[in-house]
Amino acid sequence: MNRTNREALLSDLTPEIAKTSRSWYIVFGILLLVFIVGIYGLVQQIDKGHIVTGMRDNVVWGVYIVNFIFFMGLSYAGALVSGTLHLFKTPWRAPVIRLAELITVISLAIGPFFIFFCVGRLERIPYILAFPRIQSPIVWDVIAILTDVFGAAIFLYVSFIEDFAILRDADNLQIAPWKKKMYRILSLGYQGTPKQKRILSFSRNVMAAMIIAIAIIVYSVLAWIFGVTLQPGWHSTIFGPYFVIAAVFSGVGLLIVLMAIFRKIYNLEKYITLKHFVNLGIVLFVIAAFFGYFTFSDYLTKWYGSVKMDKILIDKLFTEFKTYFIFANYIGILTPIIIIAIPRLRTINNITIASVIALLALWVNRYIIIVPTLETPFIPIQDTRHDWLFYSPTWVEWSLTAAGVAVFGMLFMIISKLAPIISISELEEAAEKNNT
């Protein structure tokens, strides 16, 4: 093993574990504040009831469910991306694969909370496990998410073992003793013997395959929560694959954004290069094309056939929700495609901006899947208070949404202090391959 190479890697990647800058604390403090505001909103909601949200008898699901699908989407996409990159031994995967794995686990930890916020009686959540009806897609979803949580955690841990061993053995690393102890326990006595290597690599392959399969099933199940109902705009056979593609779209977008952020603040320019942005940008391009194609074919068939309810829904989308629709389904899809398609535009900044737009567009896309459909039920909304006709999220919903994003950031920040954000072992392996 190349000793100097490892030392170089360690000295580049570990300072963040050893030291914590003041700006880290400031950013963390701000996020914590956002989180506390969210908690205050939650307390209000528990105290006064769901009346403090914008949801009413017709639009019974709002921003919470949008966030739920969005975060779960990010998670499955992280799993799908990391699993695929690993399984197909993509040569440039080393610096990005851990970020994708972390996205999986962290957004998976956040997503379900939005379901909890949406549920009328929080204290009865355990009933789903106590009295499950397996005919209900919600039960499928609970089973699927629990399975996914375990799978993603195991996959993440398995991919961390080699790094824990490296960190444990790095003698001149200036870190707190408890961190050393943590690495020692978590590395499971990994010494890099051939047998250990073989077992570990096989386990990683198994988990990568599992995680891809589960990601597809689980996100389809989530889509079927909407697909199995008769609601216009939801009752669609395309919804399973459509949601899977949408998830990957957002996941790749987020991966690129995080790459840009960590590259900047943790000085990883040497490892995360334009090549990675372009490669992932091409993935984004392909997915965006698929996503656009799915979206188009879904709306085209609805519009062409013009069943009464579909027509009402599409009319609503192109009038009241016009801006949202254009942003989500035109700008959000075309921007990444154009930027990647023209080689001259493929700069790190441009690709990052395209990813941010794709991310936001996908959130809005979720919003205009959920809300307009609920505003156009089969039997027209009547004989109900007119201030209940339309949905607009209240500050409570926004505060909890912001809190979700804040927690995402905080968890990422904490983890980046406990372990390197880029896999040292993967980089080492990649370097060895280059040398031979």
Binding site: I46, G49, P137, Q382
Partner: protein, 323 residues
């Protein structure tokens, strides 16, 4: 002063709610303890937070009794009435939006005024067709999507065809509300604040009291049916619009006249609303032909807040009326 009082009461409510979830853990524990303890242990008391926020001591056996009674009621409500298959027929030719059915339903089930289990829609099938009043209860479908999607079995279809909601089980996920294509279900967005008689035993057939954070809907007045009585809306309707009966007996009645269901369907061309959805409702409609009243009569003597409900097209998202 009043504000302060409100604040403190809401704080108490909050404590109550948090206490409730913690309490359920404690109750589970106490039940486990009670199981080991000999039966009928009187004199032993339990401290409880009463609805007005004060601590009261209650004999443990009385709590156990009340809980057992509720359990018994819920079990009974699952069974249904043997050999019955209930059906409702609504004669659209007679409805004039008198709203007595809505009132009787809200009164009988202690519903807040903005909470309807039966709604009166003003429908128009196509642009050139005329409008008509359309009472819409729960359809108690034979293939109920709301029941299919419920994750905890809080809503269930009984053998007599009635679909009920057990609001002691409901978690409030609202999936049933999105699954129901007829918007028959309503959600308790806030504490309904009803004063329930102290000796009232919860029964899903009556569904009193409404519980915050759970779903409610028309129950075909299953409690009345147990006594061979007609549902409240049927009795209340001054026009005899709603007929109710047992499909197995082939008879429906509006309280005044009793007719054979089959001949009513034959003579007046009964139909089910949106048959094409395949949910198989048990509520049938008679078409609004040879009407007894012009549609406009339905707007007479309505509160402005109620008549506003039929001008939904005039309202925009910002809550203002269109010009």
């Amino acid at each position: 002063m009043e504000k302060k009082e409100q604040d403190s009461s809401s704080r108490r409510k909050f404590i109550r709610k948090v206490g409730l979830s913690l309490g359920s853990v404690a109750v589970a524990g106490s039940v486990a303890v009670a199981r080991e303890a000999p039966e009928n242990e009187s004199g032993e008391t339990v401290k409880l937070l009463s609805p007005d926020g004060t601590l009261v001591e209650v004999d443990r056996s009385s709590i156990k009794k009340a809980r057992a009674q509720t359990k018994e009621q819920i079990k009974k409500s699952y069974k249904g009435i043997p050999d019955r298959k209930f059906v409702m027929v609504i004669d659209l030719a007679k409805c004039k939006n008198a709203r007595k059915c809505v009132d009787a339903c809200q009164e009988g089930h202690m519903l807040p005024k903005d909470h309807e289990w039966i709604k009166i829609q003003l429908l128009q099938d196509s642009e050139l067709a005329s409008k008509y009043w359309f009472p819409k209860p729960c359809y108690h479908c034979d293939s109920p999507l709301c029941v299919s999607v419920c994750p905890v079995g809080a809503t269930y279809k009984r053998e007599d065809g009635i679909v009920l909601v057990d609001n002691k089980r409901c978690i409030g996920c609202k999936f049933c509300m999105t699954a129901c294509p007829y918007s028959a279900r309503v959600f308790n967005w806030k504490d309904p604040e009803v004063d329930v008689p102290a000796d009232h035993v919860y029964d899903p057939e009556l569904n009193i009291p409404p519980v915050e954070g759970t779903v409610g809907k028309c129950v075909f007045c299953a409690d009345k049916l147990r006594n061979n009585e007609l549902p409240r809306c049927v009795k209340a309707c001054p026009m005899g619009v709603i007929y109710f009966g047992d499909l197995n007996e082939d008879a429906v009645t509006n309280g005044v006249e009793t007719l054979r269901f089959s001949s009513l369907m034959l003579d007046k061309h009964g139909y089910r609303h949106m048959e094409e959805l395949g949910t198989m409702p048990t509520v049938y409609y008679l078409p609004p032909v040879d009407r007894m009243y012009p549609v406009e009569i339905g707007f007479e003597d309505l509160d402005e807040s109620i008549s506003d409900r039929y001008r939904t097209k005039d309202f925009t998202k910002s809550g203002k009326t269109k010009k």
